[in-house]
Symmetry: none
Subunit: 417 residues, 2 copies
């Protein structure tokens, strides 16, 4: 077993789709010229991956969990803990955590879910909340602001459970909601307790925010006040073995999605921020590629993700998605040009398909290609949904990826004598 | 369902690898001319097999267990019981068993792990040990010599567990070790008990051997004395349903690896020894092939294994491995030439890959080919890692093999009405 090999998993977020009539029956990945992605396929070994299971649509969180070898069926209990961790909150096993928006309400009606996309002052608002609401019914309350209107909330106490509905109505013009246990919640009593506390939290937050000087100032400037916090996406924090402890590799994560970054924080990976990585179509893909190469100096393993193909998929814009895929291609090309001399294994994949025709994540398999150290190249010539299906790697699920990568990197485990 | 069909699984040990620059990017299996293996592929149906799971390196013991349909995740609790069974010791469920070496020590320092490769006298030494150490702290001690320096030890008593470290330091010049429970042992108390007894066994063995007439004579002849026994590879004996009882087929095993032979003994298969089957590069592959054909007279099912490809893989010698693969090819060719008239299904496989570049077992998939009775031939023309990947059998795991074989042999089970 070696300890000098390097591994990269490069994820084009949502970079997989379905054939489109306007692309002559090709998918966006197939229609876009992708010399670097094709090079990975041509020099490497290809296959298809079901991130979770056949036909099962995956979230970015569950897909990345599975790809990193943490079984989402067993370990995923809502996104909240990853969101809270990504905001820098301390999250402990058993906590119930939420992502939140600072929003504007008139009575119970949500006027603006993002409080005029508030940019400044949320730290002061959060501080006021934290000072005045330390606990509710014996449950500790931890609250912090993130960038813009975003924030996170953690409930810490005995017997809490996350299967509860959102306070956030997700639409403007609607009343905000009382949280209540989801139908079929596994721990009904714990869910009732968590719902009661989050409702009480929202009730107590209102007067604190309403007359806070930040909002007084906003009103004076003609801006909508951030006069409520709307929690959503509850999750119970679970115990995940840190990445390095699990695999004996120092791991870095260079991703554009807060939620996935939160997973990286959760796994004690080094979550590296890249200047110019915006998470949008204007992202600096070359800066991301450079950051990946830099990270390999100090790390054994890097997971990278470029977000924009997913955005266009959600928007249903094929040409824009092709441009986003071209960005992924340029980043991968830069990496490929600079890793040739070290024993490095690279996996190219998507975390899920986001077909423009679906405008959401689908349960279609994603194309994968492995190249570099320890790979048995096949005769696939291009990276795409149909071409990769003919590769030697066949069909895999996300949960198999880390074992495959570690084997190629000669860092795998042997079972038996 | 028929009962007149025959099945053969022919295993080239470690006969799978990775592309090598010095072989123009081919693996040793691809580079070596193998007319018989190619014939199996051409006349049959091909695929790839992960002996245990994707990316997971397999031992010869766990791989053969899985191929024979005994789930190693559930049933594998160390190699010791197979080793002891292979030496002819009675092994019962719950026993903790070890393979052992007769060795030479000076004080605690191991001078020679094989006691000058002692050839004669170990039966007498073992007898002396057995007479003088019948039990330790209520645990029965069973000890027997095997060929040369090899021996086996069985501890029989309540509440023993195998997750303990070796007494054998595995290197000469080092002190032999006290056994202790492994970190995270599932049954710590049982492991502590087993470690304590094996340490006491080694302590009591010393004076018995030191002045034994065999060693007095060896010293007189200038040879190193076999003055200690070094146990290693502890395993707890589990309950495995005998092969014939499980499958309704009389099974034979013709293999060159003691460990796998021990598994055959454990499953009450007929373990057939072949003169000239040395387990080395000088093995008589034609004698093995003849023995397989002979065994088919009295048996429904034969598992055969030729060891030498694995040896060259561990040594990193590609040309030698190709010569070893040529031996497998000749044996398979002889079998193919003589089974045509009977309804026989043959599966050709490796138990795991041992790439010359890795010099150890890897978690790469192995090529498999089925031919003969009940097979739906595909268009694969040669036996190899990349060619077989295109076969109709697709990707399978070791645990699926016996169901596949029994189906082809019309001896399968039907689930439902």
């Amino acid at each position: 077993m070696r300890n000098d090999t390097k591994g990269i998993i490069f994820v084009g977020d949502g970079m997989g789709g379905r054939p489109m009539p306007q692309l002559d029956g090709m998918t966006t990945v197939e229609a876009q010229e992708t010399p670097a992605l094709d090079r990975v396929a041509r020099e490497g070994a290809c296959g298809l991956m079901d991130p979770i299971a056949r036909g099962m649509g995956a979230g970015s969180d569950t897909a990345h969990m599975a790809i990193l070898g943490y079984d989402p069926w067993e370990h995923y209990k809502g996104r909240g803990p990853f969101e809270a961790k990504g905001v820098g909150l301390d999250v402990r096993v058993g906590d119930v955590a939420f992502r939140c928006n600072f929003a504007t309400v008139d009575g119970r009606r949500v006027v603006d879910r993002r409080a005029d996309r508030i940019k400044h002052g949320t730290d002061a608002l959060a501080e006021a909340i934290s000072e005045q609401i330390e606990e509710i019914e014996g449950v500790q309350i931890v609250f912090a602001a993130s960038v813009e209107h975003r924030a996170a909330l953690v409930l810490r106490g005995e017997g809490l459970w996350h299967e509860i509905t959102d306070v956030d109505p997700h639409d403007e013009g609607k009343d905000y909601l009382d949280s209540h246990p989801e139908e079929g919640a596994q721990d009904l009593e714990g869910a009732e307790k968590a719902a009661g506390i989050v409702n009480e939290f929202v009730r107590q937050v209102r007067p604190i925010l309403e007359d806070h000087e930040v909002n007084v100032e906003r009103r004076r400037e003609g801006k909508k006040p951030a006069n409520i916090v709307l929690p959503r996406g509850a999750g119970t924090a679970v115990d995940l073995t840190p990445f390095e402890q699990r695999y004996g590799m120092r791991g870095a994560m260079i991703v554009e999605v807060d939620l996935v970054r939160g997973l990286g924080d959760y796994l004690d990976m080094d979550v590296i921020r890249v200047e110019g990585a915006t998470g949008g179509h204007d992202t600096d893909e070359m800066a991301i590629a450079e950051a990946v190469l830099d990270a390999l100096d100090e790390h054994d393993f890097v997971l990278a993700n470029i977000k924009c193909p997913d955005l266009s998929g959600h928007d249903g814009l094929a040409r824009e998605k092709m441009a986003a895929i071209a960005k992924v291609d340029r980043a991968v090309g830069h990496i490929m040009d600079h890793i040739a001399c070290t024993p490095t294994t690279l996996m190219l994949t998507a975390d899920h398909c986001t077909p423009c025709s679906v405008r959401n994540h689908s349960g279609d398999a994603v194309p994968v290609a492995f190249c570099g150290f320890g790979v048995r190249p096949d005769d696939v010539e291009s990276y795409g949904e149909r071409s990769c299906a003919k590769g030697i790697m066949g069909r895999m699920v996300g949960m198999e990826v880390m074992d495959i990568m570690r084997n190629m990197m000669d860092r795998g485990e042997k079972f038996g004598a």
